[in-house]
Symmetry: C2
Subunit: 364 residues, 2 copies
C-alpha cells in the first residue's frame, strides 16, 4: 500500500465498469430479450436504468465508463448513451467474471494502477450523494489492494440476494469493515437469522478493486480464465476465438468468496437506498401509491381503482380499471397483457419459456 | 275460451315483441351505452344476442317480429337484422310496460285476436326445441285469456331475479300451472327459502298474452297508460307528443302482479337452459372452461393461464397471461381494460358513472 494510493488520485484512476445483461423474464411483458430491464425507464424519471446508472457515475468518473453488454444490445446501448466512449460487446453470455474481468484486463494494460468499480446497469439508487461518498471510501480502501464490496442494510429477510458478513472495522477508514464471509442466497429461515444477527448485509454485486488485484485474485483460483482474459486484452482480435472457451462463472464465486476466506475483502456500507428491481413486487415497493391506493407506472389519470391495491404498469394510453383485488399486478403493453399478484411475481419464467416454445419469440 | 283458440291458428296470430334496451354497465367495458349487451356476440356463436333471439323466434312466428328499442340503437338494430320488418324506436326510455304495451296496441288494431309473446333481446337460451315447445303451450293457454309467464327452474338462490310461485295445475294443459304470486328480487335468506320450497321459479320476463287481454289488464290498473298507448297506436303521429307523458313502469308491476292476485296468470315451466348474462359472473357461468382452467371468450390460443381460473374476454389480438389468481375477470378491449373478480362483477356501475362524470363518455 503506497501513500499515493490514499490520495485523491486514486479516484482519478477509477473506471466504472457497467455490466448490462440479464434475460428480463421476471419483468415480462415489460422487459423482453431485446429490451431487457436496463433499457427501460422503470422509475418514470424519463431516463432508462442504464442511463440513470451512467448519469450517477458521471460525477465520480467523468467519461471513464465501460459498458459490457451482449452483442444483441450494443446498438440499443449506444442509442441510449450517445456520448458513451467505451462499449465492450460480448459475443455470447459468459457470466459476470468474464464480463468484468475483460474490462479489467484492458484497463490494466493502459494503466497498471487503474481501479475499477463494477455497478450493474439495472439497479435503482435513490440517494446519489450517499452513493458517491460510499464509492469514494471504497476506492480509498481498494487502492490499498483489497477487493471492496458494498453492503446494503437489509430491510427484510430477502431470499433473492447473497449476503456479506461484516467483521472488524478496518483501521483508518470511516465505515469500512473486513468481510469474513460471502454467503449465497439463503432459505427463509437463514435469511431471518441473518437479519436478526445484524452482522449481515445484502451483496449488491458492486465491487471496487484495482484491476490488477482482481485479475491476480482470479489467477489464484481460475488461472486459465485470468490468462484468457489477459490474452484477449493484449490481442483484441483474438476475442471471437477465445471468448467461447472462457469459464462461465459469477464474480462472487470466482473471486469474492475465496478472497473473503483469505481475509482480502472489505465491505463499505451503502446507506443510499438501493433496489435491484428484480420482479414486479420490487418494482411496486419502489413506486409511490396513487390517490386511489393503486401504484401506477404510466399515466395515473388513466387508472381507476376501487377497493384494489397493487401495481399497474401501462404505456398504451388505454384506461385500466381494477376492482376488488389486492396486491394485484397488471402490466399492459401493446402486444401482451399480464395479470398476476405480487406473491406470484417471480413465477414468470415458465410462462416466457412456454411462449418461446410456442414460437411467440416476438413477445419474449 | 273458444275452441278455435286451442287450434294451431293461435300460433299463426302470435307476434314476437322483443324489447331491446338496457344500459349495459354491468358488462363494461364490453358493453357501452351505444353498444349494449344485446348488440354483442357474447357466446362466440357468430351471432349477437339480438340476432340469436330473432333466429330463435323465426320457426315460431316467421317475420311477425317487432323490436322495440331506443332511438339511439335503431340504426344498429337494423344493420344487425336487415330483414327485420318491424322496429319501434322509443324517443326516450319509458320502461317495459310502455315498450311492450305500444307494440300490443298496434297489433290489437290490426288483429283483435292477435297474441304477443315478449322475449328480451339479450338472454341466452340453449335448447331451442324445448323453448319452442314451451312457447307453443304458453300460446294455447294465452289464447284462452290468461296472462302467461315462463318460469325457469332455479339452479341457485339468485337474488337478481324476481320469482313466480306456481299453484295448481291448469286443467287441459301439459305443464301449465296457475300463478299464485309474483315476488320481487328477494334477499339471500328468502331466495334460499324459495329454492328449498320447490314452488318458486325465476321470472324470466317472458310474457305470452292476447294483445287485448294485456291492454285490458293494464286499463284496470293504470287506465291513463293504457289509453295513452291505444291513442298512439290509433294515431302514430302523436307518438312524440304523447310518449314523454307515459308512466314509467315495468310490466311486472303494472300488470303481472295485480293479475296474479286476481288469479288471471298462468306459468309454463321453461326447461330450456336460460341465462340473462347479467354480469361477468353469469357470462363466466355459461362459458366452457379452456384447457388451462381459464374460460375464454375470444381466441383461446392467445390466453396463457397458470394456477388461475376465471374469465378472460378479449378481442384485441393481444396475448393475455394470468398467473396465480382465482375467479378473476379480465376484459381486454381496444380502449379500456377491466380487471376484477366474479364476486365483484356487479359493482361496475359506480366505475362507469365515474368515467362519465370525468368526461370519458367515449369509454362508456
Amino acid at each position: 500500500m503506497t501513500p499515493s494510493a490514499m490520495t485523491p488520485s486514486a479516484m482519478e484512476r477509477l473506471w466504472a465498469v457497467v455490466p448490462a445483461g440479464g434475460a428480463g423474464t421476471r419483468l415480462w411483458p415489460l422487459s423482453r430479450a431485446l429490451t431487457p430491464k436496463f433499457l427501460l425507464d422503470l422509475t418514470g424519471s424519463g431516463r432508462t436504468l442504464i442511463q440513470a446508472t451512467v448519469d450517477r457515475l458521471g460525477p465520480l468518473v467523468g467519461d471513464r465508463v465501460v459498458v459490457v453488454t451482449g452483442a444483441a444490445h450494443e446498438q440499443a446501448v449506444r442509442r441510449q448513451l450517445p456520448d458513451l466512449g467505451h462499449v465492450i460487446a460480448e459475443p455470447s453470455p459468459r457470466d459476470s467474471m468474464a464480463a468484468i474481468g475483460l474490462a479489467a484486463a484492458r484497463l490494466e494494460l493502459e494503466d497498471p494502477e487503474a481501479l475499477i468499480g463494477s455497478f450493474a446497469a439495472d439497479h435503482v439508487i435513490t440517494d446519489e450523494a450517499a452513493f458517491a461518498a460510499c464509492v469514494r471510501e471504497a476506492v480509498e480502501v481498494a487502492a490499498g489492494g483489497l477487493l471492496v464490496t458494498v453492503g446494503i442494510e437489509p430491510t427484510h429477510p430477502a431470499t433473492g440476494f447473497g449476503y456479506v458478513r461484516g467483521g472488524e472495522a478496518l483501521p483508518g477508514f470511516a465505515t469500512a469493515r473486513v468481510v469474513t464471509e460471502f454467503v449465497e442466497k439463503p432459505d427463509p429461515e437463514r435469511a431471518e437469522a441473518y437479519l436478526r444477527s445484524g452482522e449481515y448485509r445484502w451483496n449488491a454485486g458492486m465491487f471496487i478493486v484495482r484491476a490488477t488485484t482482481l485479475l491476480d485474485l482470479l489467477a489464484e483460483n481460475h488461472p486459465a480464465l485470468a490468462a484468457g482474459l489477459r490474452a484477449i486484452a493484449a490481442d483484441p482480435s483474438s476475442l471471437p476465438e477465445r471468448w467461447p472457451g472462457l469459464t462461465r462463472i459469477a464474480i462472487d464465486h470466482a473471486v469474492a468468496e475465496p478472497a473473503a476466506a483469505a481475509g482480502r475483502v472489505a465491505m463499505v456500507p451503502g446507506p443510499f437506498g438501493w433496489e435491484d428491481v428484480g420482479d414486479f413486487a420490487a418494482l411496486g415497493a419502489m413506486t409511490a401509491e396513487g390517490p386511489q391506493g393503486m401504484k401506477v407506472i404510466g399515466d395515473q389519470s388513466l387508472v381507476l381503482a376501487r377497493q384494489a391495491s397493487g401495481l399497474v404498469v401501462s404505456s398504451t394510453g388505454r384506461t385500466v380499471a381494477v376492482v376488488g383485488l389486492d396486491d394485484v399486478v397488471v402490466v399492459d403493453t401493446g402486444d401482451a397483457l399480464l395479470v398476476t399478484t405480487y406473491a406470484r411475481a417471480q413465477d414468470l419464467k415458465g410462462l416466457v419459456d412456454e411462449l418461446r416454445q410456442g414460437g411467440r419469440t416476438d413477445l419474449t
